[in-house]
Amino acid sequence: MGEEILRVENLKTYFFTEAGVVKAVDGVSFSVYEGEPLGIVGETGSGKTVTSLSIMRIVPPPGKIISGRIIYRGEDLLEKSEDEMRKIRGKKIAIVFQDPNSSLDPLFTVESQLNEVIMAHLKVTKQEARNRALELLKMVRIPDPEARLKAYPHELSGGMRQRVAIARALANEPDILIADEPTTNLDVTIQAQIIELLKELQSKLKMTLIMITHDMGLVAETTKRVVVLYAGSVAEIAPTNEIFKSMRHPYTAALLKAVPRIDRRKELKPIPGSIPNLIDPPSGCRFHPRCPYVIQRCIEEVPELEFTDQRAVACHRWKELSLKGE
């Protein structure tokens, strides 16, 4: 494992809506090590996307980062000025969004959207930027890149658009690439190709990859370590190969049971109940209303994240439960 490159400490990001304060991220902490592929998993509304937007400091209103620290190479990003932050976005840390249909501006060509990102960080001529853009399109394996440069997003297929979005994120060879559900809006066959591409680029560029997803299968395939989020806080952190064998948080276990697996013909078990209301979250452990192992203590006391060996878990009963993969 490389050096620690990014550390999120007790991050809280709230959304101040008319209906009340939504505590989308409420005390999330984890570390990312240089060169590793890290997964962040959770259901919709677990706070994974808001966490990534918080790292970039682009949480849209009415959202606001309330407290915490985001340490990138020893410096707290939350203390940087807006202009210093701008120089980090897209240069040091970049992000690929979920839906390539909406993450590219429909009114500009591929070339102009790549150029502007390159030229926002480097003093290069238009011609140099164009060459770089061409190189990027080749890197993400877009056929006939010369012609594609002149295309508008609507002239490309969904998979091609996502490749362009990836090329844009990689334009300035960032240290960290955050991929926020990069395949959710794509066809299944295209999904596999995009994942292949990301894996290949990650190992070739020795990039730190943060893969945000709700899909445990994808976690198994692409990551070395995984952070499990539930309702705005961390449930469990573990090396990927271990978590499939022994999970320590009942939520992780439930999440794994909900994943279809080819190798085992077992009935899928959906997690009972639904993600709690984040305006008025449950007391104690936030998972307690859905947890099969709930005891009185879980309702009364918020479990701390406990670190042991290379793992961490926030559960009062993890030692006695010894949950196993099936």
Partner: protein
């Protein structure tokens, strides 16, 4: 670009049915009473026999109504606009009318865009701030304000009581000129109509642009642009504004169309010698040849403006050309 040309052609073809519909409708309305010559006789009691003869020739009253419509259509298309019942050839007056109308409309449009775009952007970026609330409130006020009423009040205040500005018309018919020279006189006459029209359409633009930008700022590609480290100025003025403006262009077209079609009212208020004022007077006098031709010409002008905006929309947004 080939797509763009095909799109333009298709839009231009749309003019034909609309033009035919409007002129036929006008024709039927003016003939609804039966024989148009009888209407005119009824309304204008002191009509001369020469005028009656001119009318009968003009309308071919002894032939069926649709035949009469085609008579009109062919002479109109050949540029023969006939004779006004109040004397004079229609054709010789129409060009100056079009000129004066467009002068007023385009000045007002230019001013309302020049002021409305920055106001709308500012209002959207500072959503729910005090300035935004003030701008938005004034905007909806202006939007609900009848142009003609505002015009009357402006004339009462600035021309009648304060005596700052000349009264109606496009130019003083004889010296002394307002402000001393003929140029200041022309400008002086423009201030009130342009000001009132600008205020009203400004309100529409600001409101729509604000709504449109607020909507665009929520899109993923804005987030993506920020995440790429683009300057806030680039994010707002390049990406947000261009995306917000393309729907606005369509609405601008509609509103120019509306404003032109509303020219009868605004021009009457300011006695502005354009198409609309001429039209109201012709309708009032039941000068049917002029009415028929003016309707046709107003329709063409409105349609051309609408199509021009459609084309600029297609130019701005590459997706439109495909449809």
């Amino acid at each position: 670009m080939a797509g763009l040309w095909r799109y333009i052609l298709r839009r231009l073809l749309f003019v034909i049915p609309v033009f035919l519909a409007v002129t036929l409708l006008t024709f039927l309305i003016t003939n609804a009473a039966g024989d148009p010559v009888q209407i005119v006789k009824f309304a204008i009691r002191r009509i001369t026999p020469a005028q009656v003869a001119a009318l009968e020739a003009y309308y071919h009253t002894n032939e069926p109504i649709f035949a009469r419509y085609f008579y009109w259509l062919f002479s109109f298309l050949q540029g023969d606009l006939g004779t006004s019942l109040r004397g004079g050839l229609v054709a010789s007056k129409i060009l100056p009318w079009i000129g004066t109308t467009l002068e007023l409309q385009f000045l007002a449009l230019a001013f309302s865009l020049a002021i409305g775009i920055p106001l709308g952007v500012y209002s959207a970026l500072k959503q729910y701030s005090k300035a935004d609330v003030v701008i938005s409130s004034i905007a909806i006020f202006g939007y609900s304000m009848p142009t003609f009423w505002l015009g009357i009040q402006a004339i009462i205040v600035f021309s009648l009581y304060l005596k700052w500005l000349p009264f109606g018309g496009a130019i003083s018919p004889y010296p002394p000129y307002w402000g001393g020279s003929i140029y200041t006189d022309i400008i002086g006459h423009l201030i009130l109509p342009v000001g009132v029209l600008t205020f009203v359409s400004l309100a529409t633009f600001t409101r729509l642009l604000r709504a449109s930008i607020v909507e665009v700022l929520r899109q993923d590609f804005i987030l993506a642009a920020r995440a790429s480290g683009l300057r806030e100025r680039v994010v707002v003025y390049k990406h947000a504004l261009k995306n917000a403006i393309s729907p606005i262009v369509t609405i601008t077209g509609l509103s120019i169309g509306l404003s032109l079609a509303g020219a009868p009212i605004t021009e009457t208020v300011f006695s502005w010698p354009g198409l609309g004022y001429a039209y109201v007077q012709a309708v009032n006098a039941l000068d049917l040849p002029v009415v028929q031709d003016l309707t046709a010409i107003i329709t063409i002008v409105v349609l051309l403006v609408t199509i021009l905006t459609d084309i600029s929309y297609a130019y701005l947004d590459p997706r439109v050309r495909l449809e």
